[in-house]
Amino acid sequence: MRTALRRYPVLIALCLAALFMVVPFVIVAVNAVKSPAEYSRHGPLSLPEGLYLDGLKDFWQRVDYGQKLANSVLISGSVAVLAAILSVLNAYAIGIGRIRGRTWVLAFFLLANMLPQEALVYPLYYLSKQAGLYDTRLSVIIVFTVIQAAFGTYLLSSVLGRFPREIIEAARIDGANTWQVLWRIVVPVSRPTIGVLLVFFFIWTWNEFLLPLVMLVSNDNQTVSVALGVLQGQRLMDATMTDAAALLGVLPALVFFLVFQRTLTRGIAVGAVK
């Protein structure tokens, strides 16, 4: 009985802490439905008097937000799929093929994964200009496919390293070649891990900022993060506009979070301790 009474303070303290984490989202949402007049009269802490959606609509049109969303989906989706394929191919050679020098190859991928993008950004900018790929979504897709595959290779290699060899031997005896073993056996069996990778690649790419900021200068190609970040950086938005930008930036992330929550929390634990 006494311990039961002692438990509640811990619960309350944790709930307050959790509330503090969520409150910024709530204030942003509450203020996005206020008109500029209402905002300047009552400030950010009052409850909205009605539902005013023109601010959001204006902002959406002004930055052509639909286009930005489409760009982000296109880039993140392509990167997720291509990087997963590249990771599978690499990891197949390293984890199952056990090619010579695999420890070094793996160390190489790991270091590539740690490399700061600052050390790549100028040459990538320069080379993409030379190749005529500057300011194209394709350039960003190519670069992030490789960057994300560095992590994917590292993770999948250790997963495939524990793949039951008897299954592969059996398929070989039945006459399957290396390609067939990969597509008919290894990929289907590793589907859960590949699924986690797809989700992570998608969200990581969605959230990237530095390289897309440098590579995508024209309005038609920018991602959500870049478009909003640049707008904020120009310091031209008033309070209501900033709030609309914040809400429109938060919403997709919230959707991913709700859809992928389980994969995310499970995947992080797997990735960190591999």
């Binding site: 984490m21 942003v28 191919l89 190489f108 700061p116 600052e118 560095a150 970040g229 634990a269 301790v273």
Partner: protein
């Protein structure tokens, strides 16, 4: 008939696309960047070899030293504080809430802490620049509402405060990552350890120190390494919140190199800055890997 035993190097073909792509996107640009660091180059024309001149200049550049000093603050905000807070929160959620109020409550609370982690850092920056705005900002309005109007600040515009404001935002962003990793780690700790300790009369603090901390050592080393590297790379938050200002008060190496590349277009100098950052991060990664393998070995030894 023998089953054709392919030489195992036929697998090497599968590595070919990956190796080519890595050469083009990572190795070649990285070598170019390192090379350019030894030249004087404005981004047009031919780079002029200047040896170590850029690095010598860096040693005397107070902006450079300031940016790395700020990196230490970022390490506190993104690695030290979130790891410490994450440990306590994870233990409390797992030990107290999970056991006494059900795992659903614990999962919901964990989700709240994790939410900022899925946010693009640029968007997190916008949310907080709006909240921390000097006029009409929610934080200042809140202070006024509770009678602390005198404590109102220009949170991101005052050179004495801006760095701490950025740190606060980064703690908020980062906290969910250690928490989730630690909670998953606690899941594999044998509950009998806790029960035995409880029977022996060990209080919460002693159980936390001797069981939770000891058992989570591998996770702690991973999280610390990972978060320290992330802290050294921090860019988006600084770009959106302060652009390194006011007056360089929140400048960090990655923003400094970005500005040197693309605003003052001293490409050679920018390359030197990013090379220093890279060396630092690679050294840390190697140290982290070592720490991690050791912690895992110790952990296995203890469990065996």
């Amino acid at each position: 008939m023998t089953v054709s035993r392919r030489p195992r190097d036929s697998y090497a073909l599968f590595l070919l696309p990956g190796v080519l792509a890595f050469l083009a996107v990572i190795v070649v640009p990285f070598l170019m960047n390192t090379g350019v660091g030894f030249t004087d180059w404005q981004g047009v024309g031919t780079p002029k070899w200047s040896g170590l001149a850029n690095y010598r200049e860096l040693l005397d550049d107070s902006e450079f030293w300031a940016s790395f000093r700020h990196s230490l603050f970022m390490v506190v905000a993104m690695a030290a504080v979130p790891t410490a807070l994450g440990l306590v929160l994870a233990a409390a959620l797992f030990d107290y809430i999970g056991k006494h109020f059900g795992s659903r409550v614990a999962a919901v609370l964990r989700a709240c802490f994790y939410l900022p982690q899925v946010l693009p850092v640029a968007v997190a920056g916008i949310v907080w620049s709006w909240i921390l705005a000097p006029e009409d900002g929610s934080l200042n309005e809140l202070l006024k509402a509770v009678g602390l109007g005198g404590r109102q600040q220009d949170w991101l515009g005052d050179p004495d405060i801006a760095l701490y404001s950025v740190m606060g935002v980064l703690v908020w962003v980062q906290l969910g990552f250690p928490l989730v990793v630690f909670m998953a780690g606690l899941g594999r700790v044998d509950p009998q350890l806790y029960e035995a300790a409880e029977l022996d009369g060990a209080g919460w603090w002693r159980r936390f120190r001797h069981i939770t901390l000891a058992q989570l050592l591998p996770e702690i080393s991973v999280v610390l390494t990972w978060c320290t590297i992330a802290a050294l790379k921090v860019f988006g938050a600084v770009y959106v919140l302060t652009k390194g200002g006011p007056g360089g008060a929140t400048d960090v190496p990655s923003y400094f190199s970005f500005a040197t590349f693309f605003e003052t277009t001293q490409v050679g100098y920018g390359a030197a800055i990013s090379t220093v950052l890279t060396v630092l991060i690679l050294l840390l990664s190697l140290a982290g890997l070592k720490l991690q393998t050791r912690a895992e070995d110790d952990g296995e030894g203890a469990r065996a």
